[in-house]
């Protein structure tokens, strides 16, 4: 030990060495019982012939990607609930309510995409390098097995949010599997857990996605890595050249691990960039078994299969969906044996590039077809008849696709808006929000039941997307019924016989005793000195009549104009003389015109739709408007109460609006 003059340092040094020996002792104890050091050395001291290289990182990035998926998946699992009433709802909560949920889900989503790309790179490298040659054939087969498991994970994961996109795309997929020879129908039934999609489908897909497939992947990955170690790294450049170039004696740790880790970080950076750029993964509207989604497409990396199928019409579809893909897979599995000779190896490389190139082309073609209408117009159509027809068909298909996608995006935004409202999602699930929302259902119902006669077109924005246009209407434009603007137009001599009101062909209002004649006579043909006063009066009548509707959008206006409205009510019954033909509150001269009490209010409109030919409305003068619910017995009615309410609420703009 040290001399006397070193005494001040001694206790310090002893402390350190005592500490060191304690650590060493504990480590020894563990090593004695586990053989840990040897294991670590075996794992890390693998020689890397020719030195660490960037081109060796791909396998490791895949391992990293898998662990990313396992970790993020586990945390997603803690917040996910796999039933048809809760799957979308819980993913909605992850995406829009949980702190950092969108980030977590985004990583899981985009890493899945990255994994497919990394798989392709890894496979390409193995094939080009001929790394499948003896004794590595089995490891190549294991690798293809791993690839299939990863694709299975992608396929099953797509359905789990139970949104329109995943639901319909997956449905097409399972529908196709039913065409497989012999066991097709059974496979489909087992996959979806019954005859139709439902709880059991989700349960099965989730068990596959989070249980069976990851376990299988870990098993295969363990074997893959064990065999990889057994055979050693395949160093293409150094085989048969007699001399290994580069750094001799480089080891896996830390030389290659450094490069692997940096590569892993780069992959993660790319995934995070995508996550931030897209604001996480998309969540479409909740799956609705009753409304097929025309723009359903599989994930991008399956698009080539989707496009490939278009070549196989009718019954030959089974070739495109099952037979040919299976044969291709078999061919790939046989590559190690095909590649035993130099020619065979070159064949393999050629096969791989044909397959990848083909898949790439098909993907591009699928994307191009879908977006055709975004880049082309009718004017570009060829002149010759046959290519012209083909062109127009293509254009129409793309237009439908883009339209369906726009509508789906709109629906998704709206459901999310409703789900975020203070009402939250009812226990029956988010689909109830869709079915009960006038804003989402109104346009559909209007198209089905009203648009045969009526327009729904904003006169201030004739080209607006929300417009529903009938080029030859036989009824008035119902946009903004009951609003100040709508009522003002009705009482405007220049507008009442126009396209938005009663100006359609064979209008019953155009007769001598009709409303149009009255407006023209009493409001149009007045002496110029009376004009100003009359205009004042009409403004008040408009306010009063419009206030009868109690439109939710006019509540504030109705309050602000209370005195004007009172004055207008008096004018309706007295000077202006509406009550000559119309009933208005207590004043009833038994005229022909419809009751103006509560005109265009919810109750008025509901009653009107039930039976416009009731005495209170058009009576026998009704020559065209159907009575949608005239019977006491609901079974006899064309429309049920809820449908009518949705239509009326939508017409009145009575739907939830966020603050």
């Amino acid at each position: 030990m040290g001399g006397v003059h070193r005494i001040p340092d001694r206790s310090q040094r002893e402390n350190t060495s005592r500490m060191n020996s304690l650590v060493r002792n504990v480590a020894d104890w563990f090593d004695d019982r586990t053989g840990m050091r040897k294991l670590m050395r075996t794992a890390l001291d693998e020689p890397v012939p020719g030195g660490a290289r960037w081109r060796y990182v791909w396998g490791s990035t895949l391992v990293m990607a898998f662990f990313t998926q396992a970790i993020t998946g586990l945390f997603l699992w803690m917040n996910y609930s796999s039933s048809t009433q809760t799957a979308w709802e819980s993913v909605f909560a992850i995406q829009h309510e949980l702190i950092g949920g969108w980030w977590l889900r985004g990583i899981h989503h985009f890493m899945a995409q990255a994994m497919v790309i990394l798989l392709v790179i890894h496979l390409t490298q193995v094939v080009i390098d001929g790394a499948y040659r003896a004794p590595r054939e089995l490891n190549f087969v294991l690798g293809i097995g791993l690839m299939l498991v990863v694709l299975g994970l992608a396929l099953t994961g797509y359905l789990l949010p139970w949104d329109q996109k995943g639901y319909w795309a997956t449905k097409v997929g399972t529908e196709l599997s039913s065409q497989a020879p012999w066991a097709g129908a059974m496979v489909k039934k087992l996959a979806i857990g019954g005859s139709d999609y439902g709880h059991y489908t989700l349960k099965r897909f989730f068990a596959l996605h989070a249980g069976l497939l990851p376990s299988l992947l870990m098993l295969l990955l363990g074997l893959h890595l064990a065999l990889f170690r057994r055979h050693g790294l395949h160093a293409r450049y150094f085989q048969g050249k007699g001399k290994v170039q580069g750094k001799e004696g480089a080891l896996f740790w830390p030389d290659q691990v450094l490069k692997d880790s940096v590569a892993a970080l780069m992959v993660l950076a790319a995934v995070l960039t995508l996550t931030v750029y897209y604001g996480g993964a998309e969540l479409a509207a909740p799956a609705d078994p009753a409304s097929p989604y025309a723009a359903a497409r599989p994930e991008t990396y399956f698009l080539f299969l989707f496009q490939f199928l278009k070549w196989f019409p009718g019954e030959s579809e089974v070739w495109g969906a099952i037979v040919i893909p299976s044969l291709v897979l078999l061919l790939v599995l046989l590559m190690p044996w095909i590649g035993r000779s130099r020619t065979g190896h070159l064949c393999n490389v050629a096969i791989l590039f044909v397959l990848l190139g083909g898949a790439g082309l098909l993907t591009a073609q699928a994307l191009y077809d879908d977006n055709f209408a975004a880049w082309h117009t009718r004017d570009d159509a060829p002149v010759q008849e046959e290519p012209r027809q083909a062109y127009l068909k293509r254009l129409a298909a793309s237009e439908q696709f883009l339209q369906a996608r726009r509508e789906a995006a709109h629906e998704a935004d709206r459901v999310i808006e409703l789900a975020l409202s203070p009402e939250r999602i009812p226990s029956t699930g988010a689909l109830t929000l869709v079915y009960d929302d006038p804003l989402l259902q109104g346009p559909k119902l209007f198209r089905r039941h009203c648009a045969g006669c009526h327009n729904y077109q904003d006169p201030q924005a004739l080209e607006a997307e929300t417009n529903i246009i009938n080029p030859a209407p036989t009824g008035s434009n119902l946009f903004g019924v009951g609003s100040r603007a709508w009522v003002a137009g009705l009482l405007d001599p220049d507008q009442i016989a126009g396209p938005h009101y009663f100006g359609y062909a064979e209008s019953p209002f155009l007769g001598e005793d009709g409303m149009v004649a009255w407006v023209r006579e009493n409001i149009g043909d007045v002496a110029s000195d009376e004009r100003a006063a009359l205009t004042e009066q009409i403004t008040r009548v408009v306010a009063a009549l419009s206030a009868e509707s109690h439109l939710p959008q006019q509540q504030q206006l109705d309050r602000d104009q209370a005195s004007r409205i009172d004055e207008g009510k008096r004018l309706i019954a007295e000077e202006v003389g509406c009550t000559d033909c119309h009933k208005f509150h207590d004043v009833d001269n038994e005229g022909e015109g419809p009751d103006l009490t509560g005109y265009m209010s919810r109750a008025w409109l509901l009653d009107f739709l039930r039976n416009p030919a009731a005495d209170r409305f058009y009576g026998e003068a009704n020559d065209r408007m159907p009575a949608f619910a005239v019977h006491q017995d609901p079974a006899m009615n064309q429309l049920d109460k809820k449908t009518l309410e949705l239509m009326v609420d939508w017409l009145r703009g009575d739907w939830y609006r966020p603050e």
Binding site: E175, Y200, A290, A294, G314, E315, V630, Q638, D640
Partner: protein
């Protein structure tokens, strides 16, 4: 991993001192191996089989086709023009029952003096919803543009993408209100007869329905007799992609 050498498996007790195999030990080792394999296998297989039985369960369950009231006869005038009606039926999903869900759609049409025919809107090719634009003389599928005549036959025959004609469904006429509990609940939702286009455009049906407002029970219809009927359809799902009509199971 410690791999045991196959030579080690015969334990020292199995060998006679001079190294010759002992018959008794051999037998014992055979029995031991057998019992080990059987009991170990059973221990694994029983739980696996138990799980598989439940997993394979759906194969033994059959789908049923509901009989559904889709419209009133008066909603389908005798003009040969197809009219779309949604098909609503109770849908059972595992442990949930959803009453009166829209499960599909049918086109009903009627020629003069004939019974109505029902064509399912599900395309025989890939199951998309076949569309019909009023005034057109063909049906068209939006997905792969298959076209069908109004009687459901393919316009281009076997050259069409669709492997077979549109599927007809069995139709049955029943007196109004004769069935109230089976299939259709008596609540308001049963107005499954929701016409897409016909009612508002066809003068006969609408003016008839409108004129008799004071006596709803005696509502007139396109039927000259004044006697309306309910149109019931057996909503069968057929497998897509096949030349033959095969019931989905």
């Amino acid at each position: 991993m410690t791999q045991t050498d196959p030579a080690d498996t015969s334990s020292p007790e199995g060998l006679a001192p001079e190294g010759k195999p002992c018959p008794a030990g051999d037998r014992r080792s055979f029995v031991a191996k057998l019992v080990a394999v059987v009991s170990g296998g059973a221990a694994l297989l029983v739980p696996l089989a138990s799980g598989l039985v439940v997993f394979l369960g759906p194969l033994w369950r059959k789908a049923r086709s509901p009989q559904v009231r889709v419209a009133l006869l008066s909603q389908v005038p005798e003009d040969g023009i197809p009219r779309f009606f949604p098909v609503r039926a109770d849908r059972v999903d595992a442990w949930n029952r959803y009453p009166q869900q829209r499960v599909g759609g049918v086109y009903l049409l009627r020629e003069k003096g004939q019974e109505p025919i029902a064509l399912t809107a599900k395309c025989p090719h890939a199951g998309c919803f076949i569309g019909y634009v009023r005034g057109s003389d063909v049906f068209q599928c939006p997905c792969h543009t298959s076209t069908f005549h109004l009687d459901g036959a393919r316009v281009h025959g076997d050259a069409e993408v669709s492997p077979r004609d549109m599927d007809r469904l069995p139709v049955e006429l029943k007196p109004v209100g004769s069935v109230s509990s089976s299939g259709v609940s008596s609540s308001g939702v049963s107005s499954s007869g929701v016409s897409s286009s016909g009612v508002s455009s066809s003068g006969a049906a609408s003016s008839g329905a409108v004129a008799n407002t004071d006596a709803p029970s005696a509502t007139n219809s396109a039927e000259a007799s004044g006697q309306d009927a309910e149109i019931w359809v057996e909503y069968i799902e057929f497998q897509t992609g096949h030349k033959e009509k095969i019931r989905a199971v």
